[in-house]
């Protein structure tokens, strides 16, 4: 279970460009729940995700995962409990390493790394089996550099990598945003499958309202560094993109003219 209490963070305090990115953000995600997070640009989605992963230190507040206080832990220490897929398909894998080396790295996420060989035959077979579920033909390219793969393929491998070790929380940071629509649909489908298979507690940030309502069990809307809408169950079932848009407008108190961005 993720338990975030009253996170506050101000960028460039005391300067003319002071920005309050998080203003008392609180959110609880019960174990096994799949939550989608939406919000306009600057609502604090990415900052919030980075705060949970540890990439961004916060001014105050508390982040707990299954009762363990993570607030002051560095990224690499949290990695034991938190798996992550980045928005940029190039960010989640090491382009200089081979597919199997990348997967070997992820298969030791949060574990003590020793002096035994990273890629052992048994592990290689496991990777091959995992990759074949993608149906991309990657199972025969284990020793290819991952830099040779397309963005969509790399994102699919990143998802597999995130599930190689058990984790208490999976963070997805607009991980389909940089992909073409077909590949994005494929990666999203894969996400839903992997999350269900491993019963992962998941927080997915997305820029697409459609996506936010279609996948997961609960949708949270952020605005000005706070949760302004939190829907689940029947209430969420009845929601449509138009409803969300209307709520968006309400909280922003202004017309949203760039519907394309929000509806995509």
């Amino acid at each position: 279970m993720l338990n975030v209490q009253d996170l506050r963070l101000t960028f460039n305090p005391g300067t003319p460009i002071e920005t309050q990115a998080l203003r008392g953000m609180s959110l609880e995600i019960p174990t096994g729940q799949f939550v989608t997070v939406i919000g306009s640009n600057g609502a604090g989605k990415s900052t919030f995700l980075n705060a949970v992963s540890g990439e961004q230190k916060v001014d105050s507040g508390r982040i707990e995962i299954d009762g363990i206080d993570m607030t002051r832990q560095p990224v690499w220490a949290r990695a034991r409990h938190v798996a992550r897929v980045f928005q940029d398909p190039l960010a989640g894998t090491c382009e200089d390493l081979t597919i199997e080396e990348n997967m070997a790295l992820a298969s030791m996420r949060g574990e003590r790394r020793g002096f035994s060989f990273a890629v052992k035959p048994a592990l290689r077979e496991e990777f091959r089996a995992q990759l074949s579920t993608l149906g991309l033909g990657l199972e025969s390219r284990l020793s290819d550099r991952i830099g040779l793969l397309s963005g969509g393929q790399r994102q699919a491998v990143s998802l597999l990598m995130a599930a190689l070790r058990p984790s208490r929380l999976l963070l997805l940071d607009e991980h389909t945003a940089a992909l073409d629509p077909r590949t994005a649909a494929f990666v999203l489908e894969l996400t839903v499958r992997i999350v269900a298979e491993h019963k992962l507690t998941t927080m997915m940030v997305t820029h697409s309202m459609r996506q936010a309502l279609d996948v997961g069990q609960r949708t949270v809307m952020l605005h000005q560094g706070r949760v302004v809408l939190d829907v689940a169950g029947e209430e969420r079932e009845g929601l449509d993109v138009h409803h969300l848009l209307a709520m968006f407008e309400k909280v922003r108190g202004e017309e949203i003219d760039d519907d394309k961005l929000l509806l995509s």
């Binding site: 690499w76 090491c94 030791m108 996420r109 790394r113 990273a118």
Partner: protein, 296 residues
């Protein structure tokens, strides 16, 4: 060019292939532009020569020199990781600090090793002359180091170091303590350079405070020459390329300095090196330009 000169070039080439492997680890694997080597090379020489001159066993002295190099690399890494000093600057600071430290260790600008035992003359069999045996022993050392590095960088920790250099953000997200990985990589890199310095002092008749000048450029030259001769992203091929690069580079220098008609002398070594590195850096870009691809 005589056989003697040739074997001499091979000998120095092999010693500098250790430097080149160290430079490959810092510049290529960790992407840490590390000038510490200009200080850790003479540090290795200073430690080894001083200990041997004081009557210590040459093997112990060589190991101590290697560890001294590792410590120097670790301090550079620490300056960067913990004190957040820019990588290049951190290594320059360590380099100039080592100049004083090396003088302190030797107590004078040079420590000659003329009659003293070295790892080379202790191991030398009766049947072989010294200038044949030295390159032979060095070949063995270089092969052992190369295979050791290949193996290490395929282990879990070795892979973590490579990931840190390639994509630190991803490495952290996979639970790699990237700060520690940089320290370990820098220690390994400079340990090899310290070892090279110790072997250099034992083959060249002693350690000298100025023996480190331009080490980084020579190491980098070897890496670049090797990469253009044998371009490969596979680690075990890349390490071969770097070793070959160091030896080829040394032969090139020997030919240049021994051809009277060019009129070059020993003091032109660094100028020739600088020119060679410049050419090696520019040629791949020109080649890409000529073949119509994007340069870079």
């Amino acid at each position: 060019m005589s056989l003697y000169t040739l074997l001499g070039a091979l000998e120095i080439g092999l010693i500098f292939s250790l430097v080149a492997l160290g430079v490959y680890i810092s510049f290529r694997l960790l992407r840490f532009p590390d000038l510490t080597v200009d200080g850790s090379f003479p540090l290795g020489g200073a430690v080894a020569a001083t200990m041997i001159a004081a009557g210590q066993d040459p093997f112990t002295a060589t190991i101590a020199a290697t560890l001294a190099g590792a410590a120097a690399g670790m301090i550079t890494g620490w300056l960067n990781v913990r004190l957040k000093i820019m990588d290049l600057l951190a290594s320059i600071l360590m380099m100039i600090a080592l100049y004083s430290i090396n003088l302190r260790i030797m107590g004078k600008p040079n420590v000659p090793l003329i009659m003293e035992p070295t790892v080379f003359n202790l191991l030398q069999p009766e049947a072989l002359v010294d200038y044949v045996f030295r390159p032979l022993l060095l070949v063995l050392i270089v092969i052992v180091v190369k295979l050791g590095l290949d193996a290490y960088f395929s282990t879990q920790t070795g892979l973590a170091i490579r990931a840190t250099g390639s994509n630190a953000r991803m490495a952290r997200a996979q639970g790699v303590n990237t700060g520690l990985a940089v320290l370990a990589g820098m220690a390994l890199s400079n340990a090899l350079v310290g070892l090279a310095g110790a072997l250099f002092a034992q083959t060249q008749g002693g350690a000298d405070i100025s023996m480190g000048v331009g080490t980084i450029v020579i190491g980098l030259a070897a890496v670049i020459v090797g990469e253009s001769l044998l371009p490969s992203r596979k680690l075990y091929l890349a390490t071969i390329a770097v070793i070959v690069g160091a030896i080829v580079y040394r032969f090139f220098i020997a030919v240049a300095l021994n051809s009277d008609f060019i009129g070059l002398q020993a003091q032109d070594l660094n100028l020739v090196t600088a020119l060679l590195v410049t050419v090696a850096l520019v040629v791949p870009r020109l080649r890409a330009h000529w073949s119509g691809r994007k340069g870079g």
